[in-house]
Symmetry: D2
Subunit: 407 residues, 4 copies
């Protein structure tokens, strides 16, 4: 692979580098141009722009400045792409940067980010990961080692002005229902710490004020956090603007379905080798208004899983909810956390494992009123000992401690 | 395999057979007794007790009497099982009955059952399936053929009186929030068409009035509709009453994750070869209050999937919802239905395919506020032609029609 | 599945049943007729015609009459099949007969059958197997349990008179090089115990004298013993005679690659549900003179293997042979047998395990003169304990004894 | 990953670099030292020391100097390793060198190297490969693209003086049976072009004269060409000398089982990230005299194969051979080559595909005298079109030409 189309400088902040941005807007200028059929490499900074360190304190996670996220590489302009086309993107290869080969996982504090189970786990925690070839291992999570499914947490095309306006309108309406909620219901545009590639001046100010935050997935892809967008995948993206303007970032060495700790994958900087092509008029031909993809051929292969079930009954109140898959998955996650606590892990460590290991989260039943049934598939061979029920748990597989914040 | 421990007579209704029941209650008398270590066969009627026919009219689906469901075989008393134990159940083999080898799938009418997408698909439809060894094929869904993942939609232990009371209380509270809703929010106990094995007399009347309906999954297992509880799986069930009292039914030749048509699997009668064992005191040892399982080793192996994404924005109103996985999966399902309509299928046929084929429904991202991201994995080799995006869809893979109700 | 097209009576010998035969010859009369597109069931006796019993003595294996083998069901005439066509056979389902659900594995005595390692294992041994749904377990091989890959050891079309003459000529020429060898180099035609379906009289005598033995695989398929011809496979057979005349038998519940004990699979009676079709003129269109197949989708899935290597150096003499894959696989098998002996198994038991469990035998390197490198993949999860090298072997996984002959 | 423990200079020949060698001998001095538990990177030159170019002429393959091969990196001394131990080597990651990311495959000329099918394919041919992330594609083999299973063709520990003497003695005895054969029966020691790391002087001359050639696999591992020794594999090597002295090379981006073109893999330079450990006294504890390994978790996953069968009848003479797996695999390979010729490939191109694509070669039956049955599994999704038999082959999937020698 030749010189990257866009490189990153890990020693300088993103806003000093023209190939990076952290908002979605059609006017962010392309950082590079390619043609259909091209193969090229992009480099990405980690999503926090280097705010988190490889150390044993969770202070950086607790105090992270989330107005900075996510640092994306791009946009890449694809010659000939027009609104209504499908942009075909092959993820030919993905991996960490040789010069920065480590990762981190955080539980965000309730007051600064939160996460799926923030009411149960309100305090910041961190685990740092060593990469041993295709495997990851953390000194903060002993007894666990697994092969990664490297993927970009975030990849998408630029929205049109109209689509952007729709996003901003509907998310503002949601926030308006409970504007003081902590954590917030949605992250609305903010100029603070906006990075917009080479854009400068008055246009910068306008775009920073309008640009959508990168937190959620939307109709263009975005922060889907789909762990199976890994090596060899082919994605079909709707094209909303001339040139498609593809951006990506938030590289994950591994992640469990749901990314339930929020900063939940093994976060890292990284590279991607891409191939792009076009299906002219593809959105209409196939009636597509959201991305579609084909997974790649080399995901890790597991034989043995332990599967936890969850239903939509709130464990805090005993209240029955109506076919609520979010709650059902919460219950499956909590069941798995409680279970792992039998084997020597703290519940925070168990959460960090489920956020990062290649677990599968399934919507198994969603019609059996009033309960949804969600299931969590935990591959058992990631542990150094046997966790399947037998005569009683072995309490010494885990141990140690996640990184804590200073008190 | 020797004579079944419990056989069914397909020519007679369930209430005339002592080994069957259709409510959950600790006082339903055991239909048979086994010991830990035993291997035995159970036979099951289809969940509707034979109300649906192998024909080209959906009248039977439209008019089905849902007070009859689900017809379960059991309870089986396991010697030595006591509350607090884990009952270990191996599904050694599963399959259709040689004497009744066909299946059906229905879309329930909005006024009689409904389903996950009942607002979009309010009318009854049906597809009938021929089993060709391990494969299923339907004259109502041409161009589709796939290997089944046979499983019991419903399997569980009996609740204790206390647990039953909890269920009835919490579900009644939910119904009370909108008692006239169609479809109903939950199915509360009803004596109508209650079948309770050999129970008779005043105790029958009391149990029929108290017995929980079998529709939802709960803390004992029940109607989980987990397609991966297939051949070779091992399940660990909490034991709530002496003898554990295991029951099962609702056999599926195949089902997609979610069972999104409600009567959405390929429904059939069938058999199961079981092995049972006990982990004494296992609930406390492992801190379990819901079932846990290990999938079996012979699920079909697919190389190629097409994956559809959904986010929690309501497609009817454009409204942004907060991390709603149920809605996100709805969007993924609708995207897949729209997509399949490019290939010659009606949208009802597409729904029937997604309810029955071995699709996977995943909770991919559930922390990226305000959107959940759910994904639907459709194995592409189940179709007779290529459905991956290329220069344009081949509109002739499908064709024909689902079975309609008479007008 | 309706009534079998051809049934077997397990209580009577094959020669009393018109649908069975044990030689290959174009003049064996069809036992049934089907049309392209038909789906039908065949039943098969075990390959020895019931000579082996479910007991703890290997006398029956030691004394087996091999002139009786293999008992095949058929031939089935396919309407419209002509020489030069390809017969497409789908193995829709396969399994044991409910009324005879057990299996056996034998090590043949050197003087009566022999086998791949007969110089090392010259005495008869036997293991009997219980089927527990999809799993097999033997009281003679404790500590082992695995899912079967059910397949017909033997399936093929009838040879033309010319092809039959070629077989007999070339095999006689081989035997002539060492006519007194024990075991024999090849089994030449013999009228003793010939079973030829409904054939009688002078034609019987001629066909019995000419008919090829069923022992080896040949250009029509035959005794390929390919373990992956399992559920859902599609086979393309050359057609050499009008009607194709398909026969099959030698049902195996499971077998390791190589079937290294000769009577090495888990042998049983069984059934097969078949679908047949034709590609007219397919042999010329595709240039085929031997069968081709597509494996099915539901073979067991293993994550962990232990792999043994063998090279073509004779372990008895230290002699270097030239790229001899047969010898290299012998060395890999012996390495695995020696290894398993560390865990409490006798070497005869280890051989019985490798003959029956779903091991894979690979030709890894075949150009690196003078050594071939063959590898044996042993799935480790079939054992009740861990057999991967660590600080030292656990000598108590196995135990017990294979069935011995009376002395 | 930090600086490699041993780097290679691609611009200089191996004999000018102290970390490389091309013979096996216990006295080749260690190029580096590690301790049990260490993780480190090695770099490897391609096996020919750069003799083959990325161009459209096969002259370099035809004229290759084979006294130079194989260029190995090492030996690496492992502190504490003693004869009788097992050296545990984890292949944590493997890949091409970023600065040399391409590959080649050759058919060697009969007079200079030959190969498995050299009597059928006596002339030199070449294909050059582009790496597109995890995929490989060759301009000389259009219509084919597949994910690689990167592995070292060659990895092993140093032999003891005694073991080396055994090798030289037994291989000389084989050559003596036909000393003038072309190609040779075995490659005996030769000082010509011997490269021995830092060794110099009289010791160099003696070791060069005694050192075993690296062509075959032997009791220490060596040139096993096992394609499944890929990412994440763990190998247990016998230790024959103090320090174990591990060497490796002959990196393959991909290879089919058998490596049937001899220079048959996709040959390249590359890197390996290794972890080493020791099992003290492991050879005796486990009775091991050859390597053992566990495959890794990320091999490509295929759903569809087309399987070709071969038996041990010589296609040139019609002669029946006795259970000859080498011949049976030859027949399976030739059947596959003939078959691919229906789709627009020359037979040389078909051979190049089978040597490089992730085909599996299986010993299916090896007891059915007089035939062995070997099978070749060809994954069908590596082709741009459908190669499964239907109404007739599509002759336009392939095309173009392998690189030819100048005439």
């Amino acid at each position: 692979m030749a010189k990257p189309l866009i490189s990153v400088d890990l020693s300088r902040p993103a806003h000093e580098q023209d190939g990076l941005h952290n908002r979605w807007h059609p006017e962010i200028p392309p950082a590079a141009t390619v043609r259909p059929g091209d193969i090229f490499r992009l480099e990405m900074k980690d999503w926090t722009d280097g705010q988190i360190g490889d150390n044993d304190s969770a202070d950086d996670v607790r105090d992270v400045d989330l107005s900075v996220v996510h640092i994306l590489t791009g946009p890449v302009h694809v010659d000939g792409a027009e609104p209504g086309d499908l942009l075909v993107v092959d993820l030919l290869d993905l991996g960490p940067l040789d010069r920065d080969a480590w990762g981190f996982t955080g539980i965000f504090a309730r007051e600064n980010g939160g996460g799926f189970l923030t009411d149960v786990f309100p305090e910041a925690r961190k685990a740092c990961w060593d990469f041993e070839g295709i495997f990851a291992r953390s000194r903060h999570l002993p007894g666990v080692r697994f092969p990664g499914i490297v993927h970009p947490g975030l990849i998408g095309t630029a929205p049109s002005a109209e689509l952007l306006a729709t996003w901003n309108r509907r998310e503002a309406a949601l926030v308006a229902t409970d504007p003081d909620r902590v954590p917030t219901l949605a992250n609305l545009p903010t100029a603070t710490n906006a990075t917009l590639g080479a854009l400068r001046g008055a246009q910068f100010d306008r775009v920073a004020a309008e640009g959508a935050r990168t937190v959620p997935p939307r109709e263009h892809g975005g922060n889907c956090d789909i762990k199976n967008l890994s090596r060899g995948s082919r994605i079909f993206f709707p094209v909303y603007v001339d040139g498609a303007r593809l951006s990506m970032g938030d590289m994950h060495f591994s992640q469990g379905d749901g990314e339930i700790t929020f900063c939940g994958a093994i976060e890292m900087s990284g590279f991607a080798d891409l191939h792009v092509d076009l299906i002219k008029g593809g959105m209409a031909k196939y009636g597509l208004t959201s991305p579609l993809f084909k997974p790649g051929p080399v995901e890790p292969r597991f034989e043995n899983y332990l599967v936890f079930e969850g239903i939509s009954v709130d464990e805090r109140t005993g209240e029955q909810r109506f076919v609520d898959a979010t709650l059902a998955y919460r219950r499956a996650c909590l069941a798995a956390i409680d279970y792992l606590a039998n084997f020597g892990y703290s519940r925070e460590q168990a959460l960090l494992i489920l956020g990062t290991a290649p677990i599968e989260g399934r919507i198994s039943g969603i019609v059996d009123v009033p309960n949804a049934c969600c299931t969590l598939y935990l591959p058992t061979s990631i542990f150094d000992g046997d966790i399947v029920p037998s005569s009683g748990p072995i309490p010494t597989i885990g141990g140690g401690s996640a990184a804590l914040p200073s008190s």
